[in-house]
Symmetry: C2
DNA sequence: ATTATAGTTGAATTTCTTTAACAATTACTA
DNA sequence: TAGTAATTGTTAAAGAAATTCAACTATAAT
């Protein structure tokens, strides 16, 4: 199975960086050390993050770069399909990995702010249906369910 | 059918206001003229709006109240399930009616920013499935598909 | 009706996220 | 290696939303 072997080799070399580099090259932009640091850090984070978290992680590792660079790099990563914006109820933007992840939904508790993820084949079905029906090319998808988690429901009834 | 008649009478008296009043009463808050003006205006708007639009409409009608009051009233309307936040790609929050509307999804074109709405029974199915599976009480739902509309796709291939 | 209590208002201010301007620097190309 | 055009950090600015506070007022209790 030479094909599978190739695939795993590529995966070990962090395909995200390769995708980003290719995107940068195609757009005639530059692969700077700052951008590399940002991208590598993002893909060391477990899926979800926001600008502040990313910035602090980098500072704690002694990497000094400005938030402006982060704000300038994120749109590039979105544009090449590696990450996407996720709206959170706390006033600022959050992001999540897209590459290598199936479309999924978030369930958020409005009381304790906990977020759970789940997948459902119907999400993809709906996406495909819309693509066909409306003639769109869908590049990203956000599905959020807001409500109250079992724990918080119990607490509400207790009081 | 006295029951149906009652229902339609209530509906004519703008059920949104009644729901809001009941919510206000239950919470021990006050039904002030400002709140009434804001709620009535919101339900004269056709579904979607943002704070600025609402504020300008009220000013143009000679109603003088502060944006602070609007910002303070919106969470109440969200909390009692009459409206919900809708994220728009233009940096600030938008809102839409929930009462009397079926759960639906938005498809947004990233090029021309056009937004289309569609419904799909599977959305409700997924919601119900999550309610059962995770034990949540779901109060709101956001489903957004991002991509490129047929028109903009054509333009892209043309150039 | 009067008073007391506590919620509410408007105006201005503050906070916080994100974007923009600009001069200095640096990655890429030929 | 020189030339160019993109990129960087800093600082300032923009913009949305939250907050502060004194004045006001709806509501309930007396």
């Amino acid at each position: 199975m030479p094909k599978a072997e190739d695939k795993s080799k590529v995966a070990e070399r962090s395909p995200e960086i390769e995708i980003f580099k290719e995107y940068i090259r195609r757009k005639g932009l530059r692969f700077t050390p700052e951008r590399e640091i940002i991208v590598r850090e993002i893909f060391e984070i477990d899926d979800h993050f926001d600008v502040d978290e990313l910035y602090l992680r980098l500072r704690n590792k002694g990497k000094k770069l400005s938030k402006a660079s982060i704000y300038r790099t994120l749109p590039l990563l979105i544009d090449c399909g590696l990450i996407q914006e996720v709206y959170h109820e706390d006033g600022h933007m959050h992001y999540e990995h897209v590459y290598g992840h199936e479309p999924h939904a978030h369930v958020r508790c409005l009381e304790c702010r906990k977020v759970e993820e789940f997948t459902d084949n119907r999400i993809k079905e709906i996406e495909e249906h819309i693509s066909r029906e409306f003639g769109y090319r869908i590049t990203a998808l956000r599905f959020e369910l807001l409500g109250y988690c079992p724990d918080c429901l119990k607490k509400q009834y207790r009081s």
